[in-house]
């Protein structure tokens, strides 16, 4: 059976150490986010001097890429961008209808973002932050999030 873009997205995101939560609709997504918040703790002070809305950062992706398991997040807004960087747990909401097949197919989207007559900052996020800089041991969670949760809306029937 041929894999759908959504199946491939899930497999590739998981291969990059993301945790994918497939939910049927927006209402279920909101519940899922609350569950993650509850489990991971919403203490705002865990990240140093800068106050954050919560210890769990939540943002919404504009697009996904199946081949790489990537979420594309428009992060022109600085506070929103920091939501994807500073907290130890990062949650990204993605609509399965927005999944593109591969990197080259993201060009039109990116071009539209960059030609609106204003500055822009677009983040391609694939899994949590990681390093292999000490003895090539793969370690998840360096300067960015330690965990990445993708809440995939309409992901699976």
């Amino acid at each position: 059976m041929e894999k759908t873009a959504t199946d491939l997205f899930i497999a590739r995101a998981e291969a990059a150490a993301a945790q994918v939560h497939a939910v049927p609709d927006e209402a279920a997504a909101a519940k899922e986010v609350e569950a993650i918040r509850a489990e991971k703790g919403a203490d705002g002070g865990a990240h140093g001097e800068r106050a954050l809305p919560s210890g769990v950062g939540v943002v919404r992706a504009a697009k996904g890429i199946a081949q790489t398991g990537t979420c594309i997040v428009v992060t022109d807004d600085e506070a929103l961008r920091l939501e994807t960087m500073l907290p130890e747990v990062s949650v990204i909401l993605l609509n399965s209808a927005d999944i593109l097949p591969d990197l080259p197919s993201a060009a039109p989207f990116l071009r539209a973002e960059q030609t609106q007559g204003r500055a822009s900052y677009v983040s391609f996020i694939t899994g949590p932050s990681r390093t292999a800089d000490i003895e090539r041991v793969s370690a998840i969670g360096v300067h960015g999030p330690l965990e990445l949760h993708i809440v995939l809306i309409g992901g699976r029937p």
Binding site: L103, L110, Q114, Y121, S129, T131, D133
Partner: protein, 719 residues
Amino acid sequence: MSYAHEIEEALKDGFLRRTLDKFAVEYRAGRDRVFAEVDERALIQRIADVKDDAARRMEELYEKFRVEAEKRGAVVHRAKDAAEAREIIAAIAKENDVHKIVKSKSMTAEEIGLNAHIEAAGIEVNETDLGEWIVQLRHERPSHMVMPAIHLSRGQVADEFEKATGRAQDHEDVHKLVKTARAELRPKFLAADMGISGANFLIAETGSLAIVTNEGNGRLVNTLPRVHVALAGLDKLIPTLDDALSALQVLPRNATGQRLTSYVTFIDGATACAKSPTGRKILHIVLLDNGRADLARDPLFSQIYRCVRCGACANVCPVFRLVGGHRMGHVYVGAIGLVLTYLYHDRAAAKKLCQNCVGCGACKDVCSGGIDLPRLIQEIRARFAKEDGEPVASRLARYAMRKRPTFHRLLKFMRFAQKPFAGKDGFVRHLPMALFGKQGFKSLPALAKKSFRELWETRDSWLAARDSSPRATNQKHLTVKIALFAGCALDFSLPHQLVAAMKVFAHFGVEVEFPMEQTCCGLPLVTLGEKETALDVARQNIAAFVGEYDAIVTLCASCASHLRHWYKDTLGAEAEAFSAKVIDFSSFVHDMLGLTEKDFTRLDWKVAYHASCHLCRALGVKEAPRALISAAAHYTPTPEEESCCGFGGSWSFKFPEISKELMHKKLDNACSGDATHLALDCPGCTIQLRGGADREKRKIQVVHVAEVLAASLEAGGAK
């Protein structure tokens, strides 16, 4: 410490050796896995085409980039050299009253020696990439472009962290050390007034930067402080977003075996920034020339613009694997490091480094931009040779080889001179090993009693000695006429391999001619930097092979690749017809004659295979020899068949320690199973591995593929 001594020390560094050995094997496996999902060759070709075009249009792309980026609130600077780039950045820091800087990885910053300059102005600079931070704490250079601290153990890192934090550190748990770095650097990000980053692509169409990272430090560097300075070479300019996205399918796959890094950030102009007095990010983009614009017009070297700094050329380099990046690089590491060191950084260092390359071609094979790195390194060596005037070896070679009869007389004289020392088994036996010094790791081959060209005269007797009458059942009789190109090593040292090939040809009725005027292919001359003499011998060979042949067959993979590629590339039309006919023995037998297992009797030999660099990479021949071995015997796959044996012609005499280690590893791999024989297609590798197997008393027999086939036919005939 002398350079030779440094290399010896590196070889003794057990930790480094184990790490790099493990890495070499795992890297290959990871890379293969993720490239299987895409069209590797097409993607690499696309990078080559896009970057070649960008190099030609560098000025136009720069203008476009500048206009678009400034439209979106960035300030674009162009620095003609390292000093100017340092000044520009120092001035930006001053005018914005900057006291603390955080930096993410930038090889260009290494290139211009930025940190020392800024620190001298009393500004604190902190590297934030984990590996870069570690080497910064140790006041060292990165030993790899992607993994700067790959030469260090976790214990060394823990010691360094103890000094930096004043707290005890776990010496075993890498994850805890990573946590320390997170905790230690987080306040530095928050306190910094300026972030300095590199950029992987500068996209002209929209004036945007693409930055590729894994740790997340890069995004903090360009987000938290109010000022962001991006520093990149002019070679990072590419026309469109599509070009960048396409290249991103290769870069992470080649760098770390990832489909994509954790983060790819596209910054297009100055976005809103709470900390900035103007409410917008203060964004400066500094483009470094430092010789790039001139180089973009160089017909040979402009191809280095295809480099995307993936580090793959180091990852697969057998010499890097043995000695590490501090000895196989300068600012940049690996094959590209050797070339860039020569072009930009330090000619004296480049002269030493470029001698290191064994010319195996592994780097070229994996390069994201398909850069012909070994060719560039060879050219640099030739230039140094020219500058230095004539070393004795070159003068001798030129004198001896310009005229074929002189050269062949000389070889005969050497055979006479070695007589008292030659053993019966084809090795030089009776010289005290002390005379060989560090060369003693392998037995050296003696020149054969009779060269092939002498044996040729009496071929009717030795070919008729066996029953060659066609057998009705399985014997083909083919109407193919070939000319045999022997090559010096086979002709004078290993003629029995040519004899074996002749038996195979005779068995299948192939008509063979051996033009007597043929001489050395010229490859050793090119290696010595003797291009003029190499051209002379090339012309002699072309003239010797003017007859009507279906193919020019050689048992030497090195000769084959030189005759095929160098002749055509250097002589053009003059060599075209000749080069087109050159084919290696295995491809000829497998592809042209179409022989299969039906044509052979299976021997009970278990045969491991060594894929010679010049065959598997330079000529791209992979299947034919393995298929033939399977047809005539039992092919026994062993690990790392395609890694270099460490011969490299005269190179093995310059770097005996490295050559020895490569050979040793090769034999370990070949002997790891139950193989009785090790087959290959190149006399250079034969000399290296037969000599090594003899010296190390290995049980394996080193043979040419032709010998496997001849033995199989012989066994069949005896049936």
